[in-house]
């Protein structure tokens, strides 16, 4: 039973098609790792899956409100404390209780520090802890392990494992081996021909 499936999907960035003819599906308990060189279109694909931009062609079939998106930027407010940041996101997603998320990413000692005073890796951990308070089944993550050390990557892998065991799924663009059972999708063969650009008008609105 797949919770997110994609049929014949084409995605475009700035009106130029970057990937086309993508077909895959992710069932609960599964991880899909996207690979491909820089600029291959991984981020564009993930943003399309998250619903931030429309698909050029094809369909993303997924329950509404199933996807939690994690981008390059953590979306933290530097003048709020770590706990306040998490509490805000939990409230936005209608969840309560941030203790589990703080514990999972070993953030308890940092809970009362302003997010602006955290190191890059600590901010990243806080950004990832946000996923746990969304309560959403499909995590769509873009390079989640950037600036994490080995111990933090292990914390993240454990959090993902726990998420999968409760019926979640994850689609992730990463180059690090997380030590998880995963399907790997190399997006390189799906590269679109940029000359077929049809979205010339799109640029006018950007």
């Amino acid at each position: 039973m797949s919770i997110l499936s994609v049929t014949d999907l084409s995605v475009a960035r700035g009106g130029v098609p970057v990937l086309e003819g993508l077909n895959f599906s992710v069932a609960s308990g599964q991880v899909l790792i996207l690979r491909g060189p820089n600029g291959a279109g991984k981020t564009t694909l993930l943003r399309t899956l998250a619903g931030l931009q429309p698909a050029l062609a094809g369909q993303v079939i997924c329950a509404p409100d199933a996807v939690a998106y994690g981008a390059h930027a953590d979306g933290l407010k530097s003048t709020l404390t770590a706990a306040e940041n998490l509490t805000f996101w939990a409230g936005v997603y209608g969840q309560s209780g941030i203790d589990a998320a703080l514990t999972a990413f070993d953030l308890n000692p940092l809970a009362d520090r302003p997010a602006g005073n955290l190191s890059a890796g600590q901010k990243r951990r806080l950004g990832l802890a946000r996923l746990l308070v969304t309560g959403r089944p499909v995590w769509v993550l873009d390079e989640p392990t950037v600036s994490l050390d080995t111990a933090s990557v292990a914390l993240f892998a454990a959090a993902v494992q726990a998420h999968l065991e409760t019926g979640g799924a994850m689609i992730v663009a990463t180059h690090i081996d997380l030590g998880l059972q995963a399907q790997v999708l190399d997006v390189t063969p799906f590269r679109a021909d940029p000359k077929t650009a049809t979205g010339a008008f799109d640029e006018a609105f950007l």
């Binding site: 931030l52 429309p54 409100d65 996807v67 407010k77 003048t79 936005v92 950007l206």
Partner: protein
């Protein structure tokens, strides 16, 4: 949604949040006018409604570009757009937070500054009423302008150019009500026009702003 409002208010009150920026500008402007124009009380009383309204408008304009730009830069806007909060609601809450941190202090400060400009006693209640009715329109129109320019670096100039023409009707009717009130004339027509502009802006612009944000995030 109330969380969004509370977060924005908290951020505005913390260090570097920009609370008081508009109010400070308003105070400075109105305090300087008597020095520039001279202490002639009749002349000051004649220009007081216009100065107070122009000052309030510019003070609102000053803090507009921060409404969405900060969230855009730190990635929160992407995450909020994928959160179970309609973008229209997000825009409305952001505009409300802007009004509470900028518009409301202006409404409270304006009567005190009116004294400096020798505003006629009859005009005080109209000043407060028009600012109370008009400043929400300034915030929501401003949020719309900020949404259109959210993806642009240093979009402040473009935003001002887009927003100022939309501010003008509110300014004209607001100042007109105060001027008429000062002379004891009938104020119903401009007051209703101003209220209509505010009601229309609040009803329509959140949708337009949300559409603009969706395009910017593509």
């Amino acid at each position: 949604m109330i969380r969004l409002l509370l977060r924005d208010l908290t951020l505005a009150l913390r260090a570097g949040g920009g609370f008081g920026l508009g109010l400070g500008f308003f105070l400075i402007l109105v305090t300087l006018v008597p020095f520039g124009v001279g202490p002639n009380s009749e002349r000051l009383a004649a220009i007081a409604p216009g100065i107070l309204w122009v000052g309030a408008l510019l003070a609102c304009l000053l803090s507009l570009d921060r409404i969405f730009a900060l969230d855009y830069e730190d990635g929160s806007l992407d995450l909020l757009a994928t959160a179970p909060v309609p973008l229209e609601g997000l825009v409305a809450m952001k505009a409300l937070a802007h009004w509470i941190t900028t518009g409301l202090p202006l409404v409270i400060a304006a009567p005190f500054l009116g004294v400096l400009l020798h505003l006629d006693t009859d005009a005080y209640r109209w000043l407060i009423i028009t600012l109370l009715i008009g400043t929400p329109a300034l915030s929501i129109i401003g949020a719309f302008g900020a949404a259109i320019t959210v993806g642009l670096k240093r979009g402040g100039l473009l935003m001002s150019l887009l927003v100022l023409p939309l501010y003008i009707p509110t300014l004209i009717f607001g100042a007109e009500v105060v001027r008429r009130g000062a002379r004891g004339f009938e104020v119903t027509t401009p007051l209703l026009m101003q209220a209509g502009i505010t009601a229309g802006a609040i009803a329509m612009l959140p949708f337009a702003a949300a559409a603009a944000i969706r395009i910017a995030l593509r």
